[in-house]
């Protein structure tokens, strides 16, 4: 019943049934708690991770569907000591309030910038509108994503 997935670059065996959503395999099976549960129905985006570089809702992705694939979580994007550009701009813009949705916001932004390195403001709004934030940090998220796009394209 074990499923093999590459998680944050490491080939990882998860000893759980394949129908369990990736979200819970990460949180409860692998103790990667940076990915959050918000709604369980892909309505809030708190559980967003990258699968082969593409942003997906891990609450709606079965573990068996990512067998042999590459999953990146917020912990794999960067760490406090080695911040990813997105994490750095999130700090520069002081985006987070309660912070609970922010892992998902950052992973969604990572997926967006991988697919579209220079998104327009309207494209940012559209790509990020699946991610809810009850603290209302949207204006700062918007500014941070624009800043990250600029920094990544200059790099």
């Amino acid at each position: 019943m074990s499923v093999t997935v590459t998680v944050n670059g490491a080939i990882t065996s998860v000893d759980l049934p394949g129908e369990i959503p990736l979200l819970w395999a990460l949180r409860d099976g692998l103790n990667l708690t940076g990915t959050k549960y918000g709604c369980g129905v892909a309505a809030c985006g708190a559980c967003t991770v990258l699968v082969n570089g593409e942003a997906v809702r891990s609450c709606q992705t079965a573990l068996s569907d990512v067998e042999g694939q590459s999953v990146t979580t917020i912990e794999g994007l960067g760490t406090p000591a080695t911040l990813h550009v997105l994490q750095q701009v999130w700090i520069d813009h002081q985006v987070a309030q309660c912070g609970y949705c922010q892992s998902g916001q950052i992973m969604q932004a990572a997926g967006l910038l991988a697919a579209n390195p220079r998104p327009s403001p309207a494209e940012i709004d559209e790509a990020m509108s699946g991610n809810l934030c009850r603290c209302g940090t949207y204006p700062r998220i918007r500014a941070a994503v624009q800043d990250a796009a600029r920094k990544l394209s200059e790099a």
Binding site: A96, G99, S129, L132, C133
Partner: protein
């Protein structure tokens, strides 16, 4: 303005007793009478707020970090007086302890408007601090953390600094008056220096000095500047720890399923099929529901859904319609909670009159983090990790449910994934304790499904407001405001086991203290029958009274044919309030006509903060779009402008979310909404650019978590009237307009 209202059937027992007794007020003493909750095995403890050990200086913040940035600002208050560099500041939540009581929380419960700074009003407010200390209310809410902590935390830093200087003085044999402090060191005139870490043990040996004088504002280095938040890196890297993120060896995962009719019994349940499902470890019956413990949270969710229940019926009105009728029937002398304001004669004739009824529905907090807690019961001791706005209550209730004295419960407050008032409740802590006891020796993470969270809230009450007003010569000559809702304090107090502490002022909050100069002015509140569980929802009573009151002012402005913003300015008898209105007028270019778009303004006064907001709306082929928003607030003294900006902007989005689509409805006693698809907050694409201006009249310091919310709904409704000529007197606005 300074008019003591008549309180009909209850009195402020706490406040009046203290006033009559002639209580002496002073700086809170750090040596007595409350025991320092930090024990010496945690390192060199100087005050309950400053801990110095091998890892550095840690500032203990007695308030919950739920997103409002309070850890950072409370720490900055201590660090400022302690001369501690910001990059060395470490912060942790304090344990539940009476030493961390919140004196500001009860201050608003005195019958004086916050604009009233007369001697009597101030004395009554100060007196409220005394019973708070006895009650030991360690609560985060009511935008009180900053008013409560402003002196207390600075004094804690100053005392700690003096103790460290005294220790250096003893060490070197140099008079303390010759020594200075800088960047975490005590400096001698000859250039030698000792770090706070090196001095901590000696400093903790001696009795603490009295609180020395605090720095004048002109000497502040940290306060008044925008500091990077201490929790930001953790929240940007997924390493911040919330209550459901605790992972100990052998951790298992649980969820609960409770009666959708809240407070009603569970008659029976059948868990036969659930018991045999994959991953299920144990079924634990609770008083009004069942918990499932499993290998993963998802397996617990699946099994909980497979349990067949027979539920008892709701002990309250079954439908929203019936609840609305109960409220409508409560505008009677018998149900009068009090008349908070009664000036002149509101029955006077007028040239033009307005008679309007406004209504708002129940609302859920819908924090992004559903209710979660982790607990471990082992060998007669309970550990709980929960994001709590009231850890003392939560610990005591959890202790009671497992039959332990509170001192055998270690309660650790984690970060909160949103609070907005919901996490002042203890339900999740009690459940986690009960489940942990049934799983002795095994750590259990308890997570509610979103559906459970949405349908088992402590809701913002449904309310109805009635206004009868008159105009003569573009002036409001009379304004008779009546508001009715079930009582939050009655519901909350019963859950907490608190004695009835007087009339429920939350019923009129945001209406009675409005500093309008209207000669004949009455504000009364009526208490509707108890129904579903109610709680504090960001800005509490002001969240609906501001909509009622300001909508009526806007209607009167239009009736008078006056500019709505100028009309408010002409009637406000409070300079800081006029200034916030002038600020939004300037920011929004208010008087500039705009093609295809319209502006609405609203003004509210809550938690001592005057707040004005202007919203710009546009009619598009897809529906109404909010194109711009401006807000101005006067916080008295701004400690961290960037964080204040975030709070005002976020509070506005919170208010707009509720105004546009927020509605919780009941059918057969149960909440109908289940998840974010049918209780949908604003999304980024609907959120306008928001510009915030912070004014500082400098009089009294205020909190800012809530005051940005009340003006949001009326500003939007007023803008929609300006755009479409249609007055919406009920929320949510999506029932009247189509939004893009």
């Amino acid at each position: 303005m300074s008019r003591l209202g008549k309180i009909a059937r209850r009195t402020f027992l706490i406040g009046s007793a203290a006033v009559v007794g002639g209580v002496a007020f002073g700086v809170w003493s750090y040596r007595k009478p409350l025991e320092n909750p930090l024990t010496t095995d945690e390192g060199g403890v100087i005050t309950p707020y400053v801990l110095i050990n091998a890892e550095g200086v840690t500032i203990i913040t007695p308030r919950a970090e739920m997103g409002q940035g309070i850890h950072s600002t409370l720490a900055a208050l201590v660090a400022e007086e302690l001369d501690l560099p910001w990059d060395q500041v470490r912060v942790m939540h304090g344990p539940p302890a009476t030493a961390y009581y919140n004196s500001a929380l009860l201050k608003e419960a005195v019958p004086f408007a916050p604009t009233d700074q007369s001697w009597l009003a101030e004395t009554a407010r100060d007196a409220m601090a005394i019973p708070a200390k006895f009650l030991g209310v360690q609560m985060t809410g009511g935008s009180t953390s900053i008013p409560d902590g402003f002196d207390k935390m600075r004094a804690a830093g100053a005392v700690a600094r003096a103790a460290l200087v005294a220790a250096a003085s003893r060490e070197w044999g140099i008079a303390a008056s010759e020594l200075t402090t800088e960047n975490g060191f005590v400096l001698a005139p000859d250039g030698q220096r000792l770090s706070y870490l090196a001095l901590a043990a000696r400093a903790a040996e001696a009795p603490l000095p009295d609180a020395p004088p605090l720095k004048p504002r002109s000497a502040w280095k940290l306060l008044g500047t925008s500091l990077p938040r201490v929790d930001m890196a953790g929240k940007a890297t997924g390493t911040a720890t919330y209550a459901g993120d605790i992972r100990l060896p052998g951790t298992v995962f649980a969820t609960v399923k409770r009666n959708p009719a809240q407070g009603a019994a569970m008659i029976r349940y059948d868990a036969k099929s659930a018991e045999t499902m994959a991953g299920v470890i144990k079924i634990v019956p609770l008083d009004d529901g069942v918990a499932v413990v499993a290998r993963t949270t998802w397996e617990a969710f699946q099994a909980a859904d497979a349990i067949v229940f027979e539920w008892g019926a709701a002990p309250y009105a079954k439908t929203s319609q019936e609840m609305r009728e109960q409220i409508a029937a409560s505008f009677t002398a018998d149900a009068l909670e009090g008349t908070w304001r009664d000036q002149g004669d509101v029955g006077q004739p007028a040239e033009q009159t307005l008679e309007a009824e406004y209504t708002v529905p129940h609302l859920a907090h819908a924090t992004m983090e559903p209710q979660q807690a982790t607990a471990l019961y082992t060998a007669g001791r309970l550990r709980i990790w929960a994001g709590s706005q009231a850890p003392g209550f939560a610990r005591d209730k959890a202790a009671a449910v497992v039959g332990l004295p509170p001192d055998q419960v270690d309660f650790e407050t984690t970060l909160l994934g949103g609070g907005f008032g919901r996490r002042g409740e203890y339900d999740i802590s009690v459940q986690a304790a009960a489940i942990a006891k049934a799983m002795e020796g095994t750590p259990v993470v308890v997570t509610w499904s979103r559906e459970e969270d949405m349908s088992h809230g402590m809701y913002r009450p449904m309310a109805t407001g009635r206004v009868q007003a008159g105009l003569s010569k573009e002036r409001i000559t009379r304004f008779d405001f009546a508001t009715a809702a079930p009582s939050i304090m009655e519901s909350f107090g019963a859950r907490m086991g608190l004695p009835a502490a007087g009339a429920d002022q939350t019923l009129v909050q945001g209406a009675w203290e409005m500093p309008y100069d209207i000669p004949n002015y009455r504000v009364a509140a009526y208490r509707a029958p108890k129904s579903v569980p109610l709680g504090f929802w960001r800005s509490v009573g002001a969240s609906y009274n501001a909509f009622f009151h300001d909508s009526a002012i806007d209607e009167l402005a239009h009736l008078a044919g006056a500019d709505p913003l100028e009309f408010r300015l002409a009637h406000l008898d409070h300079d800081p309030s006029r200034q916030v209105l002038r600020a939004v007028a300037e920011m929004s270019n208010w008087s500039q006509p705009r093609q295809g778009r319209a502006l609405g303004v609203a003004y509210a006064f809550s938690f001592g903060v005057p707040a004005a907001e202007v919203i710009e709306v546009e009619d598009t082929p897809d529906g109404i779009r909010i194109t711009n928003a401006w807000a101005a607030v006067d916080v008295g003294i701004a400690l961290d402008p960037r964080n204040i900006e975030a709070q005002v902007s976020g509070a506005m989005v919170f208010g707009l979310s509720a105004a546009i689509r927020g509605e919780i409805t009941f059918a057969d006693g149960a909440v109908e909404q289940q998840n974010f698809w049918d209780y949908e907050p604003m999304r980024m694409g609907q959120t306008p650019a928001i510009e915030v201006r912070i004014l500082e009249s400098g009089n009294q310091i205020t909190g800012i978590g809530e005051p940005g919310t009340p003006p949001a709904a009326p500003a939007l409704a007023n803008a929609l009237f300006a755009l479409k000529g249609q007055r919406a007197r009920s929320l949510p606005l999506s029932k009247h307009f189509t939004f893009a």
